[in-house]
Symmetry: C3
Subunit: 213 residues, 3 copies
């Protein structure tokens, strides 16, 4: 299998896993079939859509029909098979960590290639990885999980910084993608196993300010 | 009346109806006058703004002041006249179905004209039709209605597919727009009359997975 | 100090204040460190990101690292120092009014320069000023404050209209920016002092219509 088609396969597997996560959240909220598929679609492709909007090109999710097809088929399958998907809990988490690694790293490179400087490219890369989950949670009326607990976005961000640094010293793309994506994957799996979390603020606040109304 | 100006009038009527729906939701949530007008504006024009962002052009809602004017005036009128608007329940639903048909079909054609392939163009067309209602519900703290019940987006999607198919065999634009928009309208009205709904998942899930945090 | 660098400093102060507002809201919702910084970042830069997406350029927030740096550092500082930030209530409100004035006015000019006509440019300018707060509230599960009470967006909108009018008669940019931004600032401060609010609808509605599902 060539490098390019390997990347495509991994990409589509990541999209399928993100779609399953979105569809499962939709089923849990008692959405109808359309709602489940729509939330699955946005969970799978929303991060990439945001990336392409920021980079200022037509979103890839609309240009290549295979992405939409994988997201829609996986979401619809999850609608009927969700008890099975639930039993695959750890499998889903492992594949999700792989998807996170790939999406953040390739998102960063796409932003760099579009002329966005490293700091911005890393932020766009991170949004590529977490954007789908954010949109999924907003559509289902939840405060996004990624903002509340566990090491998820931070693992992605370290991958973004690594790939940007490797790219700056002209590492070959397949090498830098693999190294950075594996870093994200390992960090995420260790964080899951050890229940690492980012800290929350030391004391309860005295009340919100809401200055920027 | 020329074809073009007829299309414009229908377009503006659709925008007025969507604005009334948004403003009514804003009044129900006790928003102030500005909030009601803002939610009405986004309900009316949010779908078209998303379409233009995805197609990668400056949103038409900001380029042609007549669209904003119709949305703002209708929303402000709804603010003061909302009991009357409520009494027009069926009138609003009928006009809304017409708006859905027109927006999904013209959105699909705009995406095709911008070089987006059929599958993506259909998804963008559907988002043109449902995007305003989605944003309205997010701004007022609701899980979007379109994700939960009734045949609404699916009717729009069938219209998108029809117009893309008609366009692929070089049907004249006015003909394909009319056929596809009428199809959406009829489907939506029949679904309303017969209380058709998309299915929800067969059994309660055993709990959400949240893998893509 | 040159005009340009003065504008940059005011810009960065505005971003810091908006970031503090977002971070404070995040702390109040018990988000973790990453969540607090992310909400602070979006509160500070979300309005400008929306402006640039609508104007159809790569968002400045990703292109110039200083904006991201100020937003991230301020948000992280607020995470640890939020009791102090809470005590600075009035200081924050005053700086926030200054930020609102600057962002709405410069957002309008950026849209005009990109060829968007005055009405659309004013709406984009207003969204530049209120967009960050909107996104902050959506991310933390609140109906946006700006839609519910007080004179905030309307003050910004008057500034947008003023700067567009001044620009149409070829007033020098520094003069028109200063006049319009001061107008917004004064309106907002008077509204705060006198508890001015926009009206809410006269009677309770008989129930939402939800036509645009």
């Amino acid at each position: 299998m060539s490098e390019l088609s390997l990347l495509l396969v991994v990409d589509l597997v990541g999209i399928a896993v993100f779609a399953a996560s979105g569809a499962t959240a939709g089923v849990a909220k008692r959405l109808d079939l359309f709602g489940v598929v729509f939330v699955g679609f946005m969970a799978a492709l929303g991060g990439g859509i945001l990336r392409d909007v920021f980079v200022n090109v037509q979103p890839f999710a609309f240009v290549d029909w295979r992405y939409a097809a994988v997201a829609v088929v996986t979401s619809a399958a999850t609608f009927w098979l969700h008890p099975t998907v639930s039993r695959l809990h750890w499998t889903v988490l492992v594949l999700d960590a792989a998807g996170l690694g790939l999406f953040t790293v390739t998102g960063t490179l796409k932003a760099l290639d579009a002329g966005i400087p490293p700091v911005g490219a890393c932020i766009i890369g991170m949004i590529t990885g977490i954007g789908g989950g954010l949109i999924r949670d907003l559509l289902t009326g939840e405060i996004p999980t990624v903002l509340r607990r566990e090491i998820y976005a931070v693992a992605g961000l370290l991958g973004c910084a690594s790939v940007a640094a490797l790219d700056a010293v002209h590492t070959q793309r397949p090498v830098s993608i693999a190294l950075a994506a594996v870093l994200v994957f390992v960090l995420r799996m260790v964080a899951l196993r050890r229940n690492w979390s980012a800290p929350t603020a030391p004391t309860a606040p005295t009340g919100p300010q809401n200055p920027g109304e």
